[in-house]
């Protein structure tokens, strides 16, 4: 309790653009108001995700997505009211992705009051690959937009 907000970056930095969540989170360090917690999760275990936002009134999740958009495209979704659009898949190199964790939390009644999801379109998810250029730019854009959102009254 006590957190105003939490930003959760999801993804495995060993798997190319799946590391975009961690990258965005890194860029937010020192740029968020007091009372905002930054949590990095390398996978989207539903229990870990729910624990990460427990007690926070609002949560922002940033993750790689695959939706058919050009790599690096950033999209924001309001996930508190409705599931992500069907064409948007949050990428996981595990059996359950962040989208599944969010929907699991919805069913269990464990969503925060406000939940925004920033998806950054990924391109390469190969083992050992770095972040591709367009996606690194997407991480910077997502971080800037999240910082603005958190600073807004």
């Amino acid at each position: 309790m006590g957190d105003d907000a939490v930003v959760i970056g999801v993804g495995n930095s060993d798997r190319g653009d799946d590391g975009v969540g961690a990258e965005a989170l890194g860029r937010l360090e020192g740029r968020v108001p007091p009372g905002v917690r930054l949590v990095r999760l390398s996978g989207a275990d539903p229990a870990e995700v729910m624990e990460a936002w427990a007690g926070a009134a609002r949560a922002i999740v940033v993750d790689a997505m695959v939706s058919g958009a050009p790599p690096g495209t950033v999209r924001r979704f309001d996930a508190a009211g409705a599931p992500l659009p069907a064409e948007v898949q949050l990428v996981s190199t595990h059996a359950l992705g962040a989208g599944a964790a969010i929907e699991m939390a919805r069913v269990l009644g464990r969503l925060p009051d406000a939940l925004a999801v920033y998806g950054v379109e990924g391109d390469v998810f190969a083992v050992g690959a770095g972040l591709s250029e367009a996606v690194a730019a997407g991480a910077a854009e997502a971080a800037a937009r999240i910082a603005d959102e958190l600073a807004a009254p």
Binding site: A95, E103, V107, F125, V127
Partner: protein, 435 residues
């Protein structure tokens, strides 16, 4: 009545199967009511790693191979460090050895609970996914999520990170925990013991197709312990060799449909690794509590029904929780986290029990400790032929089912193995061609 019935000409094709790890394909062909082929192919093998390992230092192997799989990184670390320690002539004893069992307990708990409840249980209860299932089985899902997380916590505490742990090294550990750190997990583990016991009772009450297969079960077997890191390779059909003879007993064959090499027992054929094999070959080494629990839910000391693997995973989860509690209770922090190593050339072997079955590693080092070659036989590749055998038997027994139900049953058959096609996309193409 007198006209012969028309041959069936149905084809079922599904492009997406969730709830398996990795990229593979499943194909079945039925002609005039007769099963012609059942194929389970894997597109994404860890062969890349074998090439990637060549020329690297021996100490890099645990970190590199841990990245093969996000679900069972500990297994890859354990098989690689034990193979390297085999070459360098060191053995883990005392607390360093016990900590390796403890981290493996954590991986078994998280992997077994994830598979049993999030991936496999929806098959039995008729839900498309765990999310759909959660609406009607909220308590069960909540319990399973908490139980799995307790496994994550063990891996995160000992491994440093829960997905790709970095704390295990050849010769021991980089850092070892304090007794107090471990004891902080005890209340959760005590809760987990009850929760895992409940999981056994819950899954034992599911409806199981009546299928029994004459498997050749293979697992690591230790004289005194339920196997994790150490023991001979034993089967119920006469294999009993040290891990160093893996290549004398088994061979890896390439089949056109699959990028992964399939393993077989030389001159014999398919074999089965995983919870059912471990259980059936090591029943008497399970804790008395687990043995009693198995009997209470109607499971004998061996089990040859692949669908009951879900119950055995839960039994092994109880065992892992009990073992974790025991290891924490007796733990005394070692004075140093590792043993000294002297680099030398040679060949070494490591076979340990990943949650989904025996994982074999072999390495050859030069005299400066650089890797000359590496061989990795993952459990899913080892069970691949057994999966195909099961598909054939299940398909033959289920031909009267409508296509949707038949496809469901075949997917369930594959998921009995908790296949970890490892680190690929999440895509299994299912195709049933009825001619």
């Amino acid at each position: 009545m007198s006209t012969p019935s028309k041959p069936e000409t149905r084809t079922i094709s599904v492009d997406y199967l969730a709830r398996v790890e990795g990229e593979g394909s499943l194909k079945a062909r039925v002609r005039d009511g007769k099963v012609e082929i059942t194929e389970f192919g894997i597109f994404e093998p860890p062969r890349f790693y074998e090439a990637f390992l060549r020329g690297r230092r021996f100490g890099d192997a645990p970190d590199i191979t841990a990245r093969i799989c996000g679900i069972c990184p500990i297994a890859y670390q354990m098989s690689s460090v034990h193979a390297m320690e085999d070459i360098l002539g060191v053995r883990m004893d005392g607390a360093l050895r016990e900590l390796r069992r403890l981290i493996y307990c954590g991986e078994w708990i998280e992997s077994h609970v994830l598979h049993a409840f999030m991936l496999h249980l929806p098959d039995f209860l008729g839900y498309q996914s765990a999310i759909h299932m959660a609406a009607d089985h909220r308590d069960a899902v909540e319990k399973a999520l908490r139980l799995k997380k307790i496994g994550n916590d063990i891996v995160a505490l000992l491994g440093g990170r829960e997905i790709h742990p970095v704390n295990v090294k050849v010769g021991g550990w980089y850092k070892v925990p304090t007794k107090k750190q471990l004891e902080e997990m005890v209340p959760n583990l005590e809760w987990a013991l009850d929760a895992a016991t409940w999981a056994v009772e819950f899954t034992a009450g599911l409806p199981f197709p009546e299928v029994e297969q004459d498997y050749e079960y293979v697992s690591v077997c230790h004289p005194d312990e339920y196997p994790y890191n150490e023991g001979r390779l034993v089967s119920n059909k006469g294999i009993d060799v040290p891990a160093s003879e893996w290549n004398q007993v088994f061979e890896e064959v390439h089949v056109a449909r699959s990028n992964a090499l399939q393993s077989k027992v030389r001159d014999r054929g398919s074999y089965h690794v995983g919870p059912l094999a471990r259980y059936s070959l090591n029943f008497e080494k399970l804790s008395p509590r687990v043995q009693r629990l198995a009997a209470a839910v109607g499971l004998g000391p061996t089990c040859f029904n692949p669908f009951k693997s879900i119950v055995v995973r839960c039994l092994e989860t109880v065992h892992a929780v009990e073992e974790a509690l025991r290891l924490i209770d007796t733990y005394e922090r070692p004075t140093r986290p590792d043993v000294p190593l002297v680099v030398k050339a040679g060949e070494g072997h490591g076979a340990t029990e990943a949650p989904r079955g025996m994982l074999y590693h072999r390495y050859r080092l030069d005299d400066e400790g650089y890797i000359l070659d590496a061989q990795i036989a993952p459990p899913t590749a080892q069970s691949q032929m057994s999966i195909e055998d099961d598909l054939r038997v299940v398909l033959e027994a289920s031909l009267d089912l409508p296509d949707d139900d038949l496809q469901w049953r075949l997917e369930q058959t594959v998921r009995n193995y908790d296949p970890c096609i490892s680190c690929a996309t999440h895509f299994l193409k299912v195709e049933i061609d009825r001619g």
